[in-house]
Symmetry: C2
Subunit: 688 residues, 2 copies
């Protein structure tokens, strides 16, 4: 076990195995029955809509990636060397994550109809199709990511180039996650406000011109976006730990993250094998069981490996175990604030009787309170990982411990993504069942599967929040280590970064602005996009009365085009905040200011991400709780207030909140990638 | 000019002069006509209601102050010495700020009715009564504060004891500001939801049982609360600079803040003399002119003084001038986001046509964007103050420059508070005019005066935000300097506080939680309080139908009692966050963790304070804009949405937002006061 080349070959084989499994499941799903002409037609609309969006998304990616690649090439060639290699690894990263997202989308739009058709037989079969569809994405993401990292590091033995690969992946994640978030909520809000509220037709009614855009939105936001996001975190966590390991000048520490990725893949394959539902069983139990089983198997494999490797201190086992335990606890507390079984959701529903203003105030307040346990959990994980592995006596080892804890948590992403991607597939399946007029019994089964997806999300969400927070902290440390290495003359050290230094404070404030500003821009894009689409829907109803009578098919493509166009053009400013602003701050305020900037963005970013996701989830479930007949039930004043809360929560939880994770990851990666340049070329230095 | 005792005597004389002027204006206002029996009766209700609240507030203050005083006495006696002196100075601070708040309340409840009566004659006279009423408060606050600081420092020559005085003042500010904020919005929301929405009677209608509580609320929130808040900031800024000066071991630097307070009083007296309105003139112009004139006079006096004093570097002139300029600029940009002349308010009103959910999303988004210029301004003021006075070559002098910039900005508080306290007086005057059935012409005049108060707030608010941010930054530096001095063995220095230290990061995260949690608790208190009061109002209407017919006087006192009780009992947890949590963090995570904690609370606190205040102001004005007939006008769907936005904004802008300033000041003061204790008694040290 003392040979790092052996580790790399192992992780490469695991990656290839994972991708192979993904392809097999893809083949298996497509062989299932896709039903009648009607269901096939509905699925085709969604499929075509998704492809139209992907085309625009990939065009945007090509533009961003081309600019970045040229910039990296020039800057690195002049200042640091390896310009062409850096640019190539960056492009490979972008292509790999785009490929994983593509595979996820292609299977999601096939699995949805097949899951709906299978629901005509029984629950078990339908669940199987949906979960395996999700697993295609799960195993494609971790497989492709691991293959890319292993090969690059095998060939170059340079963690800096893996960093460029990671930056490429995060460029895609930013566009896919934020763009997908805007797309899905633009379509959702517009479809609901005109369809349900104005003309009073049910959700998923084919007469609504925005209904296909709405279903496409579930795929582009929750499948491609989420896949890109986890790909990004997965690679970023690994590379942050690799860089910290490289700074310790220990090849074992540098390669350990890739070994853990390999072990995580093995654990995910084993865990996912046990995800099965008997007829009448609980799908949510199956998903949670799979996740927890995967974690347990991984913990055992990881502990055995670290115990067997003489060069790795045993303290890292604790770092990973505590990190994973904290992830589960965060999931549970998140559930307390967002599930209708507990008082926050119940009280918000109760308060809704006094009108929407009180619903909003209560939802925002509970959302703000909900960040407390999660952040305390993250702090505990960080402090334990630090002190269990090195502490102040071996500072570098301690910081590496924080990094390895996040790698450990993300190593099981294969299973996490599978359970997550299951959600939008069954959501779509329900839509297809409704639109192709299947029996009520089938729709009910789809509802059961759908609600399981929401429940399973609690744990997976807790995981991804905790992992992302630890990842950016590790990236933050990696950035500082990069800067220290790059400063010529060695005049810069960690002790120069005092929090009372006005440049650090200036950076903290300016970095702290970014997450609120970024989320505001995304939410305003949703508002403006929904506005335009509402007018389009009204115009179609006016121009062709046959649409509402159900005799004329509405023009779905116009709505799809509007949403895609709006989502991607409004990404320009958010992308500038994420990619250009760190470079500007680095140049103007120097490495010191940039350090503060990253710190501020991370602290405020984690707070806003948690607040917005949880408030949104709470409003969603408060509305659903009222719809079960509580507090006056459907149609009551409380219900109207609940619907308004839910609509406010939509861009909170599906656009702004989850995109902030990507924002802070991208910022940290940009800072780390350009650290060698900024260290030697900045205004404070030029003014000296 | 080279004698610090002379400076102290000068500032003491200025303080006495200011207080004397306050008493004279008090006498002048009470001599004005208070009108008919009816207007006197209405004013008496408000007066009695205010006193009932004050009684409860002072009881709460006595409890908190007694516990704190005993704690300070014991802890200081054991660990640091001067226990009894510290406790006494703390109590003096609490009494002084409570006295200033009391004087402000007593005059506000007299000036309101007299201003309404004077409005029957002409605008000019009415304005005069209201402004002089506000000036009583303005000059009482700065007078009492300066007298207290000067005397304590004259007698003891120990800035640490002035710090205890400041902590006493901030204990009152916390209760008065947060409690008043909960009180005023509980009454406001309940009065509106039942009165205007349910039974359809106008605002300020005497048939509404909550109408007096609502008017009392304006006084307790905007007068006593605001007075306590500015008293707190004023003293905290001075003492932070004094501590930083003391750390430089330079008596001139230690005493300069008090000299600036004296000069600021002189400037405020001159500036306020020019606040006059001709018949037909613009009251808002008069208020702004007074503020800007005061700043100009102060700048000249301050520059002359610093140029004449050989022991003070001239760079401090720039620190103060830039700070003041930034304050004005922040006021202007705040106006851009909250005035109906610019696009954010107009677009929010426009979006309101699509329903309340979009109103909320747009208001939150613009509120989040609005923090950008203010924070950039604060950063610019800080960086300029630092580099103009010392920079990295003389770090201590540079940090002192940041402190002195905040003192310079707050030195003109006499005028700022006068213009601010004018607002609630004319707001109340309008209510009294309506309740005592004065002519429409009189009510219209009161409306003109009222809207001037809102406009003038833009500049004063910009000032107080920028000044508070710089003050907490100076306090932050003062805390670190206190800690460094107190650490036995001198093993602790600024360079130990690296931002990548996991204990600093842990502190940053936990500190960052506090402002969101604190504001959530305050908002939930408003929600719960309003809920109870709504039931009380409904019960009164049910029990006595004569109330709505106008034949039976409702029981105002029950609503007043409910609001007061609810506001003060729900302060327990917020007070624990502000006062106890910093001590717990200091003990568990040590001085390092506490430093991060303060940093996190300050960064996130400034962001949330700006966001919540500005979103609230924006919704308020969007509603008013629609009421002028735009976007459908009164009664339209857009108006209904606007009203909901305004109701959500109420606790944002009047409860949570402005209380956060007080929160972070109190936290910083608690940390600084207990720094000598925490430095030598904490868990990381005990574990070593």
């Amino acid at each position: 076990m003392g040979n790092t080349t052996g580790w790399l070959i192992f992780s490469l084989i695991c990656g290839l195995g994972s991708l192979g499994l993904g392809f097999y499941l893809f083949y298996w799903v497509t062989k299932q029955d896709d039903g009648t002409d009607r269901s096939r037609e509905v699925a085709r609309w969604i499929h075509e809509g998704s492809q139209a969006y992907l085309k625009k998304l990939y065009t945007a990616l090509i533009i961003v990636a081309a600019i970045m690649a040229v910039f990296l090439w020039i800057v690195y060639s002049i200042e640091h060397g390896r310009g062409i290699e850096t640019a190539i690894c960056y492009i490979i990263g972008a292509i790999c994550s785009a490929a994983a997202g593509y595979m996820g989308m292609e299977i999601a739009v096939r699995a949805n109809v097949r899951s709906a058709v299978a629901a005509q037989t029984n629950l078990n079969k339908s669940f199987n199709v949906a979960f395996r569809g999700g697993a295609v994405m799960g195993f494609a993401v971790v497989g492709i990511a691991t293959i890319g990292m292993s090969i690059i590091y095998m060939i170059t033995e340079d963690a800096q180039l893996v960093l460029a690969y990671s930056l490429g992946a995060s460029s895609f994640a930013l566009l896919a996650k934020a763009g997908g978030g805007i797309y899905t909520k633009t379509a959702d809000i517009a479809a609901d406000l005109v369809g349900k509220v104005e003309v009073g037709i049910p959700e998923d009614d084919p007469r609504n011109p925005a209904v296909v855009a709405d279903n496409v939105g579930d795929n582009v936001g929750d499948v491609a976006g989420m896949g890109g996001d986890i790909f990004d975190s997965y690679v970023a966590a690994s590379v942050a730990a690799m860089l910290l390991g490289a700074a310790m000048r220990n090849p074992f520490y540098t390669t350990l993250p890739l070994l853990l990725c390999g072990l995580g893949i093995v654990a995910s394959i084993i865990g996912s094998y046990f995800v099965k539902v008997e007829e009448g069983g609980k799908p949510s139990r199956a998903l949670n069981l799979g996740t927890i089983l995967t974690c347990a198997v991984f913990a055992v494999l990881m502990a055995i490996a670290i115990l067997l490797i003489p060069n790795i201190a045993n303290g890292y086992i604790w770092a990973i175990v505590v990190g994973t335990a904290v992830g589960v606890v965060i999931g549970q507390t998140t559930e307390f604030f967002t599930s209708d079984e507990f008082s926050p959701v119940k009280l918000t529903a109760e308060y809704s009787k006094s009108g929407p203003a009180v619903t909003i105030i209560a939802g925002i307040s509970y959302g703000l309170v909900s960040i407390v346990p999660s952040i305390v959990g993250i702090v505990v994980a960080m402090v334990v990982a630090f002190f269990a592995t090195g502490g102040y006596t071996d500072f570098d080892a301690g910081i590496y411990g924080v990094g390895i804890a996040s790698v450990g948590m993300l190593a099981v992403s294969g299973m996490i993504v599978s359970a997550d991607a299951y959600g939008p597939i069954v959501d779509n399946a329900r839509g297809i069942a409704e639109m192709s007029s299947m029996d009520q019994e089938v729709i009910d089964r789809c509802d059961v599967l759908d609600s399981a997806g929401n429940t399973a999300k609690a744990i997976t969400k807790g995981f991804s929040i905790a992992a992302a927070a630890l990842t950016v902290l590790a990236l933050f440390a990696a950035f500082i280590s990069e800067i220290s290495v790059a400063m010529k003359g060695g005049s810069f050290s960690i002790s120069d970064l005092s929090i009372v230094d006005p440049l650090i404070l200036a950076g903290l404030f300016i970095g702290g602005i970014c997450p609120p500003l970024f989320s505001a821009l995304l939410m305003l894009s949703v508002t403006q996009g929904a506005f335009k689409m509402i007018e389009e829907i009204r115009a179609q109803f006016r121009a062709e009365p046959g649409i509402l009578e159900g005799t004329v098919k509405p023009d779905y493509n116009r709505c799809i085009g509007l949403a895609a166009q709006g989502a991607l053009t409004s990404l320009i400013w958010p992308a500038i905040i994420a990619i250009v602003l760190p470079l500007v701050v680095g140049f103007v305020l120097g490495p010191t200011g940039l350090t503060g900037f990253l710190g501020g963005a991370i602290i405020v970013g984690v707070i806003f991400a948690l607040f917005m996701s949880n408030s949104g989830g709470l409003w969603d479930n408060a509305k659903k709780y009222i719809e079960t007949g509580e507090c006056g039930g459907k149609g009551s004043e409380a219900h109207k207030a609940g619907v308004i809360g839910d609509t406010v929560g939509d861009p909170f939880k599906d656009t702004a909140g989850p995109s902030i994770n990507t924002l802070i990851t991208v910022m940290s990666l940009v800072a780390s990638t350009f650290a060698p340049i900024i260290a030697n070329f900045n205004l404070p230095m030029l003014l000296k």
